[in-house]
Amino acid sequence: MSTHEKEAGATGRAGLLRLLAADRMATAACAVLLLVGLCAVLGPPLLGDLAREQNLRAVKLRPFSTGEGWEFVLGSDSLGRSVLARLVVAAGTTLSVAVPAVVLSLLIGSVWGMWAGFHRGWRENVSMRIADVILSFPSLLLAVVVLYVFDPSIANLVAVLAIARIPVYLRTARAESAELRGRLFADAARTFGSGNWAIVRRHVAPIVLPTLLTVAAVDFCFVMLTESSLSFLGIGIQPPDVSWGLMVAQGRAELRNAWWTVVFPGLAIIVTTVAMTVLANWARIAGDPAQRWRLTTPKRGRTPRGRGSVPDSAAPPPGRPQPQQTGSRERTAKGTSHGEAPRQEQP
């Protein structure tokens, strides 16, 4: 009884934390993201001035050289600013662009996609063609238009980035929801009189979103790099504000003689993205009760042998989804997930 009480408790917040702690990679990823978040929040007020402080007499200090003070452990850039401080401060700007952009495109794309996939028919067709249009439209043109027609600002930058990425989520969400709408549990919900949106919210979204989350994780990196290339047009981040993408792009010329001005921000992008990917994959598994067991690491001696009536039933083999025939020309649900999509036999 108590064992299963414990397991049931795994859905609670404490349980999730325990699950997280059990997966070393996910814990590390979480720590990385927490650190990034902390930098984003505390960085600008604490290190903002340091990050802007130029010293034209101490430019391009090598990293890890001692005697320059802690702020120069990662070296200094071509204006003699602390790379470390800039890295920390840039986290805030980076996140303030990338997170809204990714979240917006994720939200709009997934809601739209789920709606389109759920209703099928013309709504689906029109949506897919719109996605095609956006995909084949150069997003740079959009950026330039924004620059000319509107005020260049972070909000507009976010809008441009978000619009350009909507199709990715739209297509995935549509494919998944087209498949899910035919599932028996959606039918079951109909027999209670649930409306379409209620079904999408309760049954489609919780299954589609984790997959989209893994897509979003990889997209994060894409958005960060695109952001930097757009700042060259003059929309978005402007000096002395700084983002990782901008640091990477500006330092690009320095790769030969001051590698640290490029490599560290680049690493920041990679590490953050990888952490997000790892965490998204973890969340996908943790959010799926059928997969959750994978996350509990083996703990010897936990099996309560000899205990009387262990009420837990042997979990029967999982229901095998029947090949979907209707509408199967649509891309498979798992299709667009950029991560693993294990649907294995499991106890």
Partner: protein, 483 residues
């Protein structure tokens, strides 16, 4: 590099010439391939001396205030075998200045001046301008000679010229090969062929020289890592910040002066430009007619800057108004960083400054009249290159109160410019120098930063001495195998 042995010099450019149309030769990308390699003008300016030297004309004479007469070289043939005559010369001038093809050179060197050319005899051309023009031959040195068979109504991509090289093959997007023209009138250059390629990334251009894939790489920045192959040369360009001197607080000369004092030009050149440049006090470099050796770069004096601003503030000048630096990415290496440095210094001096880095076209909106409305007081990051070597090409445009790139002018300055433009010879030099001095003392519309330098990378087996014109024209004939 294995390249030179085969009689080919390989040159890597930052971009492909959009066209080789000779009348667009004032476009850097076109000019540095075309000028004096494929086509030639009547006369050519020597960058070191500033003198005009005969090219396809052997001599010229001012026959009236508005008329010049050019005597043409004999025995010159075009690449198609036809002889170069006065008809061709007159045709070329008309085609450039008076046809529907919107020649870039037209706007660039001639502006509003209307000019007609006619062949007097086979070797004499007479050129008439509406207004007296003392530097007409200099202007004409930008007109490349093409045969009359050239299409007069539309641009040609691959011109026929008289130069030492003719176009052998242009694989668009990939490379451009020039071959020696056997019947060239002058001395045959060393290399049989020249192969141009283009790479947008500076570090790749530098790497190509390092790895022996190219003999000459153009337009490098210090960070591109050309190492031992790097050769620095002053490129005729001067970087400056243009101030909106009619908008508060920039309408107060104390603020403008403060800005000049606040910017540490020496430090900027030493660190951001990596020594590639020379702190400057005026828009034209040495060698240009009108250059004033007495104008020195403003000293870095933060205390003065602060006190000037304090004084202005005391007089009710709204020095707290937000000033926007309009920057242009890539205008010179580390453009954004430069503006960050400036911003930093101006803030220290007590001004509220923000930076906006734009792309070329958006930036051009701020550069040229009519300026965007509601922009507030701006400082425009700009750079000026005087290819022609005469301050006339600078002053009117940039400092005249109606100049296309001018944000502000004074009647006093206008008058001085006018007078200088009509003068010739020494007087011309003196008057322009005076106008420049007046600008820098009384008007202070700019914060001039530095006379810029550029880097060219040369493989060990070629020798070439870049000069101030090398950024805009690169004479293949001046490239020689080393040793």
């Amino acid at each position: 590099g294995a390249a030179a042995d085969a009689g080919t010099v390989q040159i890597v450019l930052p971009e492909e010439p959009p066209t080789l149309e000779p009348c667009d030769a004032s476009l850097t990308a076109t000019g540095r391939v075309v000028r004096s390699n494929i086509t030639e003008p009547l006369a050519e300016r020597v960058p070191e001396t500033g003198e005009l030297e005969p090219k396809l004309a052997t001599g010229w004479k001012r026959t009236s205030p508005t008329t010049w007469r050019f005597t043409l070289r004999k025995g010159v043939t075009f690449h198609d075998g036809t002889a170069f005559t006065a008809k061709d010369a007159a045709f070329s001038i008309d085609r450039t200045l008076d046809s529907g093809i919107e020649c870039n050179v037209d706007g660039y060197v001639f502006g509003d001046s209307r000019i007609t050319a006619s062949a007097v005899d086979a070797t004499t051309v007479e050129v008439t301008s509406k207004e007296p023009d003392p530097i007409l031959p200099l202007r004409l040195s930008f007109v490349e000679m093409v045969p009359t068979s050239t299409d007069a109504d539309s641009r040609v991509r691959e011109p026929v010229g008289t130069g030492p090289y003719r176009i052998e093959k242009w694989n668009q997007g990939i490379n451009l090969r020039l071959a020696q023209y056997g019947s060239y009138w002058g001395k045959a250059p060393d290399y049989k062929t020249a192969l141009y390629t283009w790479r947008a990334e500076g570090s790749v251009r530098a790497a190509m020289v390092s790895s022996g894939e190219a003999d000459v790489a153009v337009g490098l920045a210090p960070a591109d890592g050309a190492g031992d192959h790097a050769v620095e040369y002053p490129n005729n360009e001067t970087s400056y910040l243009r101030m909106d001197a009619d908008k508060p607080p920039l309408d107060d000369i104390r603020v403008r002066k403060a800005i000049n004092y606040a910017i540490d030009k020496k430090g900027l050149v030493a660190s951001v430009f990596a020594g590639l440049g020379k702190p400057a006090g005026q828009l034209v470099p040495d060698g240009v007619t009108g250059y004033n050796p007495d104008i020195k770069s403003w000293p870095h004096d933060m205390k003065r800057a602060k006190s000037l601003i304090a004084a202005a503030r005391a007089d009710g000048v709204p020095v707290d108004t937000k000033i926007t630096i309009i920057g242009r990415n890539g205008i010179y290496p580390k453009a954004a960083e430069t503006m960050e440095v400036v911003q930093n210094e101006l803030r220290e001096a007590g001004l509220d400054v923000k930076v906006k880095m734009l792309d070329v076209n958006a930036w051009t909106e701020y550069l040229l009249r009519p300026f965007p409305k509601d922009a507030g007081p701006t400082l425009l990051q700009a750079q000026h290159g005087n290819q022609a070597g005469d301050a006339a090409f600078t002053m009117e445009q940039i400092y005249g109160s109606k100049g296309a790139q001018s944000s502000y002018g004074t009647p006093g300055l206008d008058r001085r410019i006018q007078r200088a433009e009509h003068a010739a010879g020494r007087e011309r030099q003196a008057r322009f120098a005076e106008a420049l001095a007046y600008q820098s003392k009384k008007v202070v519309r700019d914060a001039v930063l530095a006379h810029m330098k550029s880097i060219i990378a040369l493989a060990p087996d070629v020798s070439y001495k870049p000069d101030s014109a090398s950024g805009d024209e690169m004479h293949l004939a001046e490239i020689h195998p080393a040793g």
